[in-house]
Amino acid sequence: MLVADHLIKQQMHTPDRIAFSENGRDTTYRSFFVNAGRISHVLLHHGVRPGDRVCLLLSRGIDAAQGIYGILFAGACYVPLDPQNPASRLAYIMGDVRPRCIIGIGACPEWCDASVEWIDLNNPQLFGDEQHGDIDGVYRSSPEDLAAILYTSGSTGNPKGVSISCRAIDAFVFWSATTFGIGKEDRIASLAPFHFDLSLFDLFTGVYCGARTCFVPQSLTLSPKKLVAWFDEVAITSWYTVPSILGFLALRGGLAPGQLPAMKRILFAGEVFPLPGLIRLAQALPHVALYNLFGPTETNVCTFWPVQRSRLETLESVPIGGSACEAELMISDSGELLVNGPCLMSGYWQEGHVQALDHPWYHTGDRVSRNDHDELLYHGRMDRMIKSSGYRIEPAEIEAVINRFEAVRGSVLVGESDPICGQRLVAVVAGKSVDLEALRAYLKQNLVAYMQPYRFVQLQAIPLLTNGKVDYRAVAGMI
């Protein structure tokens, strides 16, 4: 049984239970399965074959979830695109991943390569009268088949596709279901966009356990008290999210002991949870088990720490704990965390195929150490990667865009600490004649909102070391 097979199992055992809910629309396991099957048939009809990639240009929700299962039923691999991304980034991803089809709603966007088939889910003729509630047409995946490619910021200056196999997703699903004890009575809140690895829990662990996954209405994320009221009303028991939104709720959501009685567990990952916010959350929800999950997209979750409330006041930072998903962990001589295990990606996607890993141990680029409790502590990056509001940002991707601008002779992007989003971006730009206002306008057209520099520093030249490399210490002293 792999990934999408769990849906087949659930629709046979509990066809009438609700699988997904979104803004008052409920879909049972049976109808979710039937709809995914119809999408799968449409894909097969459009020439999708096992091993193909299919892009998904949809916001998170039932339609997108059905699309994902439909893609997997066809034996293809899903590639979620963020509709908020600038066209240039989406066009790059399309060129890199070379999908057979792209699933969306409405008209095909302009940046989309005309040779790629556009499938409009709103097209009334799309499905015909067929029902396709059978499992005969479902492709039986092998463990090493790719299930998903998630694009993340790349150090080469372009986004890179983390290729995730059915085996890797299944290892995470099994581990998360058993470790957190998710059952069919559980209700999971889903807020993470599908191009974030956090969504694997909402999409697959919930189905594996026969639970109900409820999509958080996007508008509520802007009103902390209404969001808390929604959690109460829907009786959410489980939530996997990022610390920044939890901090927002703990600070302004009016959370207090006795509230959210149904909530059993909250898992968080994606960035360091500042201790004051975590302490506040732990005090406000004393009955809820809290877990800090850790790992880059390449390894999914490789360590976790069940939050021990009694120790929070004495800690200097939140530990990332010990092995998750049966990962083997090793700390190199330089203090870098190395990971091996079933959750590891298959490799990066490059120009039409997976570049297999040349080493069994994945080098995370994260500096860690062990404390007296034999728990791992996170100390930041070995390289220049910046984490801002849960987003992972490779400075090179932004520098490459800046360097293409008129009169720019070089640039360095650095993070400076920020109490709310962790780090904010400062662009150091070489070239005295660079028009910064025009540069700002140009970046708005070419970079995602979370990659926009917070401020600019203009220099004659980027300081270099004697070996010709950028002197990052000198740069840091100038901002």
Binding site: I245, F248, R252, A441, K444, A449, Y454, R455
Partner: protein, 77 residues
């Protein structure tokens, strides 16, 4: 106050292509103001203008446009 608010919003929270043509009634949420942005905005307003904004009033109706934010602040001065 409005100018200071506007410059904070465009410097830190939303990135629009042309700030000068963005009016006080244009939609900030459509322009990309998200939950993290709102948290920053609330903290900025409370610190800078010395007001306390009740938790239950943190919602899109009060935050959607620059004009709405201004009148929200005014109500608590």
């Amino acid at each position: 106050m409005h100018d200071e608010l506007k410059s904070f919003v465009f410097r830190e929270l939303v990135h629009v292509l042309d700030e000068t043509s963005f009016s006080g009634d244009d939609d900030l949420l459509e322009a990309g103001l998200d939950s993290m942005g709102i948290m920053r905005l609330v903290l900025f307003i409370e610190e800078r203008f010395g007001v306390t904004l009740p938790d239950e009033e943190i919602e899109p109706d009060n935050i959607q446009t620059l004009n709405r934010i201004s009148s929200w602040i005014e109500r608590h001065r």
